[in-house]
Symmetry: C2
Subunit: 447 residues, 2 copies
C-alpha cells in the first residue's frame, strides 16, 4: 500500500525547508516515513510493517476503531468550547475521577502534558503563595518555558544553562545508578532526606517551597522506579514546608503499570498526591490532557480572581475520545494485558541479562520497561554507542525501539497496550541476535 | 433533537462537582447546553437554534463536512508524532508558508495559541540573548504562566498582581479611548514612541529587549485597530534594540479581516513580523496551532543545542484538518465573504450609532467588528452594565454575542466566516429593538 503524496526525498527536502530544525526525526541518518498504523504495528510507504515498542501515545493501539468512531461522530455533531454546558465534559470528568482517590475530584482539561504541568505549577503557586519548585534530576516535564526551567533533562542540554534560583534539583531515586542503590538499607528514606535537605537550604535563603514534582516513574530520566515509600516520605517533608506534591502521570498513567491504573498507586494506598497531571495516552494521540486536584486547591485557585479558560480544552470531541479510550482499556482488559505481557517481557529480558554482560539492569512495571546497557557491571560505564547501535539494527529488522536516560543507554519499552507475548518474543529474540554479534565485536575490539 | 445524556440540572451539578471553579460558563445565571451545531448555528438540547456571532474558532462553520471528513479519514489511517516523516506535515507547512511573506518560512506545529506564544518567546529569548518583553495594555496572549506575565488583561485581575520586572506594558494603540485619538495628527508615531520610551527606560536599568508582542488587532483588549504605520515604526525601534516583533494572529488570522489573509498585512506590504503565531481558527476547533518564523531565528534556536519536541504538534490528523480548513476558505471564498458581510455589518452598526447615543464607536475589519457602548460620548463613560444587559437579552432571543475589552463594554462580533447578510440583519435588528427600549429606560432613569 502506498499512501504518499511526495517521494520520500521530496518529503525530506520540504521538511528541511519548512519545519524548525530543532524538531528531530527518529533515525536521522535514514528516517522512516509511516503512512498507516494499526494496533502495535506501523507501515511505511512501501507497506513494510514495523513492530512498535515505543509509542505509548497510541495507548489502546494505533487507529483503534472505537476511538476513531467516537471522535468522528462527535466532530460531525459538535466541537466547541467548555463555556457551553456539555454532557461529554462532565461525564468524562466523572469517569476519570472514579479511577482516582476520592479527594482528587476537580478536573481542568487542557491540550497537552505541557499545558497540564504548567497549570499544576500555577495551582501550586496560587494555593501555597510560595514560589520554589523541587524537581528530580534528569526529569522532563514539558516544553513550555516554565517547564524547561524544572526539566534538568532539557536544561542540561543548553550551552549556557542558567538554573532558576527558585528551582532545586533532587537526586533521582535510581536504585541502579543513583547515590543510594539496591544495597542501601533504606534508600526511600535516604532519597527523601535529600529532598528535605533542599527544602531546608531553600528556607535558609528565605525561599519557600510551592511544590515537589515528579513523574510517578521517571521516563526520559531512564525508566527509574522509585523505592516503595519514597513518595510518602517526600510528601511528608513537602507538606510540612507548606508545599504540594505533583505526580506527573503524562507518560505512565492509564493502566500501563499493570497492577494499578495510576503509577503513583504503586507506592501504596496511603499515598495520595495533591495534583495529578495526565497526557500522552489519554486520547490515543488526540491532543488532550488533564489536571486533577483537590477541592481545596481548586478553590484557592479560583479565589485568585482569575478565570481559567482554555480554548480547546475539554471540548466535546476530546471528551468523546477520552471516554472511548477508557472504554477500550476496560473492554479489552488492557491493564491486565500490560501486567501479563509486561511480566513476560521482563522475564525474557532477565534471561538476556544472564546471557549478555552488556545488559546491566532490567527494571519496569507492566508495559513500562527499561534495559540499561553498561560496558562494565561494576563501574556501570554507560554503553551509549552500543544502545544506539542496537536501536539502528532493530530498525533494520523493522522493530521500533528507543534509548533514553541521561546517558541514552537505557532501552525503553513503552509500546501500545495491546502488545502481545509474541511481540515480546520477537523483539527480545532480535536483541539476543544483535547482542550475540555485539559481544563478539566486544571480544575482538574491546571499548 | 435531543442528544443529551443528563438533564441540564444534573449536568450543572456534575460540572460544579468535577470541573475547576475557575472555568466559567457563558451566561452563568442560566447557562446554555449546546448539543449540535452547523455553519453559524448552534442548537440546544431542546432543538432551539442560536445564531452564533462569537465562535471564531469554528472558522469555516461548525462541523464543516469537509473538515470532519479529513479528520475522520486520517484518524482511521494514522495519528502519530512528527519524529516520523509524513507528507501531511510538510504539505501543510508549504501551504501555510504560501500565505505569508517569503522570509517567514519555518514552522513549528504545536497544540494551542498558548503553546505557540510561549514558543515565540523562547525563540526570541534564544535568538536575541535578551530577556525583556514589551506587551500592549489590555493584551491577552494565553494561559500558561509565561503568558499570564505578558497579559495585562489577565494579571490586572489578580488581587496581589506583581508585574514581572522584565515585562513592560505599552499604551494600547486605541484611537477611540486611548491616549492619542482620531484627532491626533500622527497617532502611529505617538504610540510607537511610547514603545521606544519603554525600550530606553529598560536600557537605563541595564535590561535588554527580546521582543515586542502584539495581536495584529487587539481582541480581548476591545477590538482595537492600530493606526496604519504603527507596526512599521514599532518594528524599527524594536529591531534597533536588537529585539524581535511577534505578531499574534491567534484570534484574527486566516482571512477574517477580509482584505488580507493575515491581519498584520493590513499595515502594508513593507511590514513583516519576525515571528507569527496562529491558533484558534486554524483547525476549526481541533486543538492545533503554529509558530512561523525566519530561517535566521530558527537556526539560532537550533544552535542552543536543545531539541524541540511536541508530542501532538504536527500530527497527521491535525495537518489533514488544517489543510481542509485552508481548502474550505479558498473553495467557499470565505475571505471574500468576510469582506462583504463584514462591511455590510459595519454599515448596519454605523446606522445604530447614528440612531442610539449609547453606541459610541464602530470599528472593525472584515468579520472582526466591535461596537463600543458609552453612557456619554464626550467622557466615554463605559456602558458596562448596558452591554451585559444587551448580551443577555440577545441570548433570550437566541443570538450569541459577547462583550469584552478592559471595561467589558465592547460588543464583539467574530462569527464563523460563513456568516451571512441575513444573519447581520437579524442581530442588528434585535440590537436596535433592545437599544430602543434601553434608550427609553435611560430617558426615565438616567445613569
Amino acid at each position: 500500500m502506498t499512501a504518499e503524496m511526495f517521494p520520500k526525498e521530496k518529503t525530506i527536502d520540504l521538511r528541511k525547508k519548512h519545519i524548525g530544525p530543532s524538531c528531530k526525526v527518529f533515525f536521522s541518518h535514514d528516517p522512516i516515513k509511516i503512512v498507516r498504523a494499526k494496533g502495535q504495528y506501523m507501515y511505511d510507504e512501501n507497506g513494510v510493517r514495523y513492530l512498535d515498542c515505543i509509542n505509548n501515545v497510541a495507548h489502546v493501539g494505533h487507529s483503534h476503531p472505537m476511538v476513531v468512531k467516537a471522535g468522528a461522530e462527535q466532530m460531525e455533531l459538535l466541537n466547541t468550547n467548555s463555556r457551553f454546558l456539555h454532557d461529554n465534559l462532565v461525564q468524562y470528568a466523572q469517569r476519570l475521577q472514579a479511577t482516582l482517590p476520592e479527594k482528587l475530584s476537580v478536573c481542568y482539561f487542557v491540550n497537552s502534558g505541557s499545558e497540564a504541568n504548567d497549570l499544576a505549577l500555577r495551582l501550586a503557586w496560587e494555593y501555597t503563595g510560595h514560589k520554589d519548585v523541587i524537581t528530580l534530576d534528569n526529569a522532563y516535564h514539558g516544553h513550555v518555558s516554565s517547564l524547561i526551567n524544572i526539566s534538568p533533562y532539557k536544561f542540561h542540554q543548553l550551552a549556557n544553562a542558567e538554573q532558576s534560583k527558585s528551582v532545586h534539583v533532587a537526586l533521582s531515586p535510581d536504585l541502579y545508578r543513583g547515590n543510594y542503590r539496591q544495597d542501601h538499607p533504606d534508600p526511600a528514606t535516604a532519597y527523601a532526606d535529600d529532598v528535605n535537605n533542599l527544602i531546608q537550604k531553600a528556607h535558609e535563603k528565605g525561599h519557600k517551597v510551592a511544590a515537589f514534582i515528579a513523574e510517578s516513574l521517571q521516563s526520559c530520566g531512564g525508566q527509574v522506579i522509585p523505592p516503595a515509600g519514597y513518595f510518602q516520605k517526600v510528601a511528608q517533608h513537602v507538606h510540612q514546608a507548606g508545599g504540594l506534591f505533583i505526580a506527573d502521570e503524562v507518560q505512565v498513567g492509564f493502566g500501563r503499570v499493570g497492577t494499578h491504573f495510576w503509577a503513583f498507586q504503586l507506592q501504596g494506598e496511603d499515598f495520595v498526591p495533591d495534583i495529578v497531571t495526565m497526557g500522552k495516552p489519554i486520547g490515543n494521540g488526540h491532543p488532550m490532557s488533564c489536571v486533577v486536584t483537590t477541592r481545596e486547591v481548586a478553590e484557592a485557585f479560583k479565589n485568585s480572581g482569575m478565570e481559567y479558560f482554555n480554548t480547546f480544552g475539554g471540548n466535546p470531541v476530546s471528551c468523546a475520545i477520552g471516554l472511548a479510550v477508557l472504554d477500550v482499556i476496560e473492554k479489552e482488559d488492557l491493564q491486565g494485558n500490560a501486567l501479563r505481557v509486561g511480566g513476560y517481557l521482563m522475564r525474557l529480558l532477565e534471561q538476556q541479562k544472564e546471557k549478555h554482560p552488556l545488559v546491566g539492569d532490567i527494571r519496569g512495571r507492566g508495559l513500562f520497561v527499561g534495559a540499561e546497557l553498561v560496558r562494565d557491571r561494576v563501574k556501570l560505564t554507560p554503553a551509549t554507542a552500543e544502545a544506539q547501535d542496537i536501536i539502528y539494527k532493530l530498525k533494520e529488522q523493522h522493530i521500533l525501539l528507543s534509548a533514553d536516560g541521561p546517558h541514552r543507554n537505557v532501552l525503553k519499552f513503552k509500546p501500545p497496550m495491546c502488545f502481545s507475548e509474541e511481540d515480546a518474543d520477537m523483539v527480545v529474540e532480535k536483541i539476543d541476535q544483535i547482542l550475540t554479534v555485539e559481544v563478539e565485536i566486544q571480544k575482538s575490539e574491546p571499548f
